[in-house]
């Protein structure tokens, strides 16, 4: 994985030291809260409901064991013994004390980590397919270009005060696991007819109160031109994005107002200007240098079949269930990609204890894994596991309470922290998510229901991606009482779509029953092989709505 050069190391260390003096000046009263707030936000430090919250960048979701161990150390020494992985693949600590944060930043710098640009109106942490470098059908690893974008956009003076935050994601297979069409810029690595690798560039996707799927702006941008093309997009946005209304400030509003053709025309004008100067051309040798950091491990020449694996499937029902959902075929023979669910039934989505972090790092040491991934679905991934090692890895995960067999099933819910932690939330999301998990805990039923993506947010800002859920749940505040709206038909994958609101919302004691009625409706309506999303797309909202509200209407009359 990527290692800091002396410039990276100096930059991150200096930033930590600058923040130390900023905190000191704040506590002494030399800075007011209004003056200090933009400074702390630029370092990922928020003031939340109970305490401060520190958001740590995990670029393209890749962590080494020394980094995982350092996060565990920070969780124990400075927080309450746990952390939370977010839908931007970052880690949040919910209880740090302001006076300790400069020390935490130095501890992070020790392992090449930071909180830079995890907040504020700048280019945020770049995300990528969590199966990068391991999945079959990948044209190339999306992380080198993600790293290059990270370096290019870190402290970029022209783009440090954009109209609003800006999020970029990269994927490299036909299947989209990085939700690229839901990003300000989504990059899909593609191959043209001449066999050259380049980028399809989508712009203007986003969640929030005005959800949009991104439009295709760049049909094929060459490798050397990608930074110039991104800069052209950012320039158009920086100049014409709205600064007068926070709700209309994201690039999605500009793109969808102008339309794809006009936005593309403006980008191309800027792009031509940048090209004329001859700058921002990605030197092939620099690209090679960065790519080398992400070279896959030397895969052993293994047979596809593993007797150890097959025996464990036969002997251990738990292992067989886990293998069924949490393993994905690897591109190398004799290997598998293993998803570690952070969605234990009845536990908080995305939370991980310090002991679990250390345990994961120890597994990495013991089995020779050099990295673990964080997915935007708030799970972890071991990207390269020898099939013959899987039973032993599973046993170790089980001992850590990290072996839940539910990846991609209805209990694998994406969920924001909601009103239990967040200052912006209108309603709780975690307890609802936990209750839904308990309702559908029966594994046989989960398997029968197949792939159902429930995504839940505690407010309209949509950190829990509810617009992209097959079933989306949005928490709202109705006269001081928590209420929940259901959306159906959203997708965060290559067939991205915005979910449609079903109808009136439900109280916190009704929402789980309502979700169960949605699922029961699907079971009644489905045709063989259809996922809930497919059935919804075929039959539309009405049959679902009729079945979900019928009981309520009976009760009301």
């Amino acid at each position: 994985m990527y290692r800091y050069d002396e410039f990276d190391a100096k930059m991150v260390r200096e930033r930590a030291e600058q923040f130390r003096y900023q905190v000191e000046r704040r506590i002494k009263g030399e800075l007011t809260e209004d003056e200090f707030k933009p400074l702390r936000l630029k370092n990922g430090l928020y003031l939340q409901l109970h305490s401060y919250m520190l958001r740590i960048a995990v670029p393209y979701g890749t962590l080494a064991q020394r980094q995982m161990r350092q996060l565990a150390f920070i969780a124990r020494k400075y927080d309450r013994g746990y952390g939370h992985f977010t839908t931007r693949t970052n880690m949040q600590f919910h209880w740090p004390r302001l006076k300790d944060v400069p020390d935490i930043l130095h501890h992070l710098a020790d392992v090449e980590m930071h909180c830079i640009q995890t907040s504020g109106n700048c280019v945020r942490n770049v995300t990528a397919d969590h199966f990068a470098g391991a999945i079959a059908g990948e044209l190339e690893d999306p992380r080198p270009i993600s790293e290059i974008i990270r370096q290019y956009s870190s402290f970029h003076p022209e783009f440090n005060y954009l109209p609003r935050k800006f999020k970029i994601a990269v994927s490299a297979t036909k299947e989209d696991r990085a939700a690229v069409k839901w990003h300000d810029i989504g990059i899909e690595i593609i191959k043209n007819d001449a066999g050259e690798i380049g980028y399809r560039v989508f712009v203007g996707g986003g969640m929030g109160r005005t959800p949009y799927v991104a439009l295709e702006i760049g049909h094929f941008v060459s490798k050397t031109d990608i930074l110039a093309y991104i800069e052209a997009i950012l320039r158009v946005y920086n100049e014409y994005g709205r600064r007068d209304n926070i709700h209309k400030a994201r690039v999605k509003i500009l793109v969808h107002q102008l339309g794809a053709d006009e936005f593309r025309r403006q980008v191309e004008v800027e792009f031509a200007e940048i090209k004329k100067t001859g700058t921002l051309q990605l030197p092939p040798e620099e690209l090679k240098r960065i790519e080398a950091y992400f070279a896959p491990p030397a895969f052993e020449d293994l047979p596809d079949e593993s007797p150890e694996f097959d025996a464990a499937v036969k002997a251990d029902k738990d292992f067989a269930n886990w293998a069924k959902t949490n393993l994905t075929p690897h591109r190398a023979r004799g290997y598998a990609i293993a998803t570690i669910s952070l969605k234990n039934i009845g536990m908080t989505t995305g939370d991980i204890s310090a002991d679990q972090m250390d345990g994961v790092a120890q597994i990495m040491d013991d089995f020779g894994f050099t990295e673990v991934r964080v997915s935007h679905e708030q799970n972890l991934v071991f990207p390269h596991v020898r099939k013959k090692d899987l039973p032993a890895v599973f046993a170790r995960l089980k001992a850590l309470d990290l072996a839940t067999a539910n990846a991609g099933l209805i209990t694998d819910i994406i969920c924001c922290p909601g009103l239990d932690y967040c200052d912006l939330a209108n309603a709780r999301s975690i307890p609802i998510s936990m209750a839904i998990q308990k309702r559908f805990a029966d594994l046989e039923r989960q398997h029968d229901l197949g792939e159902i993506k429930i995504k839940m947010s505690g407010c309209i800002n949509a950190c829990g991606h509810h617009h992209a859920g097959h079933i989306g749940i949005l928490g709202v505040d109705k006269k001081g009482v928590e209420f929940y709206q259901i959306q159906l038909g959203g997708s965060g994958a290559e067939d991205a779509s915005v979910g449609e609101i079903m109808g009136p919302g439900f109280g916190k004691d009704e929402i789980v029953d309502a979700i169960e009625r949605v699922v029961d409706a699907y079971v009644k309506l489905r045709e063989p092989g259809e996922r809930l999303l497919d059935t919804y797309r075929r039959v539309g909202m009405t049959p679902f709505k009729n079945m979900v509200y019928r009981e309520q209407m009976h009760a009301a009359y």
């Binding site: 905190v23 000191e24 003031l47 109970h50 309450r80 919910h94 209880w95 975690i430 307890p431 505040d477």
Partner: protein, 113 residues
């Protein structure tokens, strides 16, 4: 005219973010010890007094919120303030509900930077 809704005054402590409640011209960590204002004028006066603590960089984000008197004592009206007073409802091992010890302002150790 309906009787005014009782209110309490809250803020976060600057140095560590701890949720605090106004009591007798100062701040306490424990919701149950916070002053309840039945008179809106008294509530506004307390908020005005709290501004001095903001100027002195002791607390940030002071505001008033509605409470109600019940058989079990005073409770916040909104879920947000119920959770803020107790801690996250999904993790009762954290927050004030875990009894990790409210630190009164006098207990703050000297700042070492």
């Amino acid at each position: 005219m309906a009787a005014p809704v009782p209110q309490m005054l809250t803020a976060n402590r600057l140095i560590d973010g701890e949720v605090l409640y106004w009591h007798d011209g100062n701040w306490v960590s424990d919701f149950a010890r916070g002053d309840v204002f039945d008179d809106p004028k008294a509530a506004e006066a307390a908020l005005e007094a709290a501004k001095a603590f903001m100027r002195d960089n002791i607390v940030v984000a002071a505001y008033l919120f509605d409470v109600r008197r019940t058989a079990n004592g005073v409770e916040p009206v909104k879920e947000r303030e119920i959770i803020r007073a107790a801690g996250p409802s999904n993790r009762t091992d954290t927050g004030k509900q875990a009894g990790l010890g409210p630190q009164e302002p006098k207990d703050i150790p000297p700042i070492q930077l």
